[in-house]
């Protein structure tokens, strides 16, 4: 049974594409029948393609609380045009369908006439649009520990998801150069990307799906995320300083704060791993989901943008959930204990979100992101004595407590540390109160030609103003003893636009309007 025959209540009939075979996710696939406004997909049919019955009233994982699959707080600030449905707890499967529910226009039999040989049968009619997405409510609370459920994080909101969101386990970060010189084409790309991001963060495929389309055409979706849960995928877009040159007439819209980062002591930056006109940060609890997302966006972008560099990350090194243990970096230390919590609205307002008085207007509700690829000299670090390691960080290795303290979260007493200790130099008290929301990930990109792990920290930090955030902190880290064991080899800075409000909005709309 298809969505065409049973459209979800309150939605328009999908517009069918005359040919329906060359959808690229580029504007041909505007779908009006996507009831995902709330990250929840109304089930209108039984999936006929799975042999497993859907759980309808009992979650199968009983060991975990299920905070995200039931709207518990109905005081959502965002208007929803659909009553939140209860009684559909978390589904156990991700939709494995073509992701559209749009019926193909009748395919002329003559299409097959030329295919005397080979070629799979053309799927006529709509593919089964089965599967629901975990219903995370479209509120401001993106920090609930939803990892256990593989739920969807709402895409729409005042701020982009992927910043205050509880940090996921995996990262795929990509920086792009814009190749087109046509402003309208760039705008179209951002719109197409936004629609694809809506689909993917909800656990759907992009465009016309991964199979069931015309046999002679490559499928719109590459397919490797079929059957996987949404996995709290977030996609966060940013604009680099180079986007504001003469090409697109954005010169006068460039935020004063979006300057190229100064050179810092010890920088050894590879231009091929630095900069970029655009970035997309994909975070998810499943690495395949994050990689799939970047891959689709890169493909939609061919001819308009080109991947400049990208970075995979694992093992989050920062936490935005204060009750959780601070994760360890590849040096074995807890670092970033004093991170800004995703739930700390006051701190987010003070240190992360661009305010009206900061300007420019198009960036209000957005932020600035500094990305640094920090290579660690793993092997030499591992040969360093425990005492020296602890002195360098200013924490003990086991508990993570600051020097002279007992517990990890005890307030550091800076004078007890060496003047060259990492924690002391990075601490807000040493930097005029400067704080950032850190969201870094470890990376290991195999080995270099010398048998050393190519590993380290992919540092990601969101802040309201770089001049009062990353820049002073990094300057004061010039005398950090840790520098003997690390090197900054990649660097980029982006303005992060505010969130996408609804289905009609798109990434960067205010900038280009």
């Amino acid at each position: 049974m298809s969505e065409e025959t049973t459209p979800p209540a309150g939605t328009a009939q999908p517009g069918t594409d005359e040919r329906g075979d060359t959808g690229t996710g580029t504007g041909r696939n505007e779908r009006t029948a996507e009831p995902t406004h709330t990250g929840a997909r109304e089930r209108t049919d039984e999936p006929t393609h799975t042999g497993t019955p859907e759980p309808t009233d009992k979650p199968t994982h009983t060991s975990t609380p299920e905070p995200t699959d039931k709207p518990t707080h109905t005081s959502t600030p965002e208007p929803t045009d659909k009553p939140t449905h209860t009684g559909t707890p978390e589904p156990t499967d991700k939709p494995t369908h073509t992701g559209t529910g749009v019926a193909r226009a009748t395919a002329a039999p003559s299409r097959r006439a030329l295919l005397g040989w080979g070629g799979a049968g053309l799927a006529l009619g709509a593919a089964v649009a089965g599967g629901a997405v975990a219903a995370a409510t479209a509120g401001e609370d993106r920090t609930a520990p939803a990892a256990a459920s593989g739920a969807a994080v709402p895409f729409h909101g005042a701020h982009q998801a992927g910043i205050a969101t509880a940090v996921q386990d995996r990262l795929h970060f990509a920086s792009f150069d814009v190749k087109t010189r046509d402003r309208a084409e760039l705008v179209r790309l951002l719109q197409d990307w936004t629609r694809a991001a809506e689909q993917m963060t909800a656990g759907d495929t992009v465009g016309e799906g991964a199979y069931g389309g015309l046999a002679e055409a490559p499928p719109d979706d590459t397919g490797e995320a079929l059957g996987l849960k949404p996995s709290r995928l977030t996609l966060t877009v940013g604009f680099g300083p180079s986007l504001f040159d003469a090409r697109f007439g954005l010169g006068d819209r460039r935020p004063a704060a979006l300057v190229e980062l100064p050179k810092f002591a010890g920088d050894n930056l590879d231009p091929a791993r630095s900069g970029g006109d655009l970035c997309v940060q994909a975070c998810a609890d499943d690495p395949q989901v994050a990689v799939h997302a970047i891959r689709q966006l890169a493909r939609i972008g061919f001819g308009k943008v080109a991947v400049r560099w990208s970075q995979l990350g694992f093992g989050k090194t920062s936490s935005t959930t204060p009750e959780a243990q601070t994760p360890r970096n590849l040096m074995g230390f807890k670092d970033g204990t004093r991170n800004i919590a995703g739930t700390d609205t006051a701190a987010l307002g003070k240190h992360v979100w661009v305010s009206r008085k900061d300007g420019p207007a198009w960036l209000v509700g957005g932020s600035y992101l500094v990305a640094r690829r920090i290579r660690m000299n793993i092997e030499t670090w591992d040969r360093t004595s425990l005492k020296e390691q602890e002195d360098i960080f200013g924490r003990d290795k086991g508990e993570g407590a600051p020097v002279g303290r007992a517990r990890e979260r005890d307030e550091p007493f800076l004078p007890a540390m060496l003047p060259t200790a990492h924690v002391r130099l990075a601490h807000p008290d040493s930097n005029g109160g400067a704080r950032m929301l850190r969201r870094g990930f470890s990376f290991t990109d195999g080995t270099d030609g010398l048998g050393r792990l190519d590993a380290g920290l992919f540092f990601l930090a969101y802040q309201r103003d770089v001049a009062h955030g990353f820049v002073p902190v990094q300057r004061s880290l010039a005398s950090d003893d840790l520098n003997e064991y690390i090197q900054h080899v990649g660097s980029a800075l982006y303005a992060i636009p505010p969130g996408v409000r609804d289905k009609d909005d798109w990434w960067g709309r205010a900038l280009f309007s």
């Binding site: 075979d21 060359t22 030329l114 080979g118 490559p218 061919f302």
Partner: protein, 382 residues
Amino acid sequence: MQPARLSVVTAAAALSALTAVTGCAEKSDAEDGSGAIAVTAKDDSCEVSAKEFPAGHVRLDIENKGSKVTEVYILFPDDRIVTERENIGPGTKASLTAEVKAGDYEIACKPGMRGEGIRRPVKATGGTAAKRSPEMDAAVAAYRTYAQQQADETLPKAKVFTDAVRAGDIEAAKKAYADSRIGWERTEPVAESFGDIDPKVDLREDGVADLEPGEKWTGWHRLEKALWQDGKLGAEEKALADTLDKDLAVWVKKVGTAEITPTSMANGAKELLDEVATGKVTGEEERYSHTDLVDFKANVEGAQKSYELLKPVASKNDAELVAELDKQFAALNTLLDKYRADKSTYVFTSYDKVSGAQRKELSDGVNALAEPLSKLAAAVVE
């Protein structure tokens, strides 16, 4: 070339071998007139005794009454060869038999064994004929002509190269090398559809390990290594030059029999860009001569030829795609032109002089074209 893979063209060719379209030539002794069609070939005419005949087993009784050696063909509407008979001398007779399905065909006499020949339309009747689009047939026929022409023009260019090798003239051979490959590179998917020729003439060094015991590495790249790496032309290389001539001659003969469809043309265009993306951009194809950009350009030209021929159909089905392809072909050609001083020649910058950043730019250009090109096949299947 890549290690052999079953391309669309190949699959079709393999399958067509199973269909009831087989030709065989035989000496004509029997004059029993059992429904045979008489073909009288002269220097300026081609007379056929019947315009229609029942589908099934067909025999042509040919007489060459002209002064030139001639060839006679039965052709599909898209110029694919059903069967042929060559070298029919003046005043001699020959016969030709074939199994043909119902449909339209042409009988062609080629006095002097050159050119399009003198064509006569004929029809095999009975049974059901597959419906065909004349527009598509025209596109396929034009592409077939192009592929044949590229192959024909390659032989003399290859001979300049192989003559220089045989003469032991390293410099002249180096000069002629890249030029001799252009026709091949433009139509590579067709050439690859004959699985046996490609590994003989275009095998790269990394494919040598996959040769069967007793098989030797032959072809262009073996000679490329001798010229640029070893700097020597010995008896072995001279023998390899003879082999290359011989293998290319086989290719030229086979081109006309390739199964070509609008879909395979579109996929062939996409495959040419795959070739560029995986072999030329990386500098792997011409690792010793560094003439990768010549191959690159030829691949793009071949892809563009297919595309231009399919454009009338594609633009009806997907005007947006056609606009994008026009734009990206132009952009890639403009980018390639940065690497040659004179657009009337194929003298391109040596690829070892092309920086990493420039290669990235070329790679981005290839992706920008290849992505929409991958959607061309769908736009011609209607």
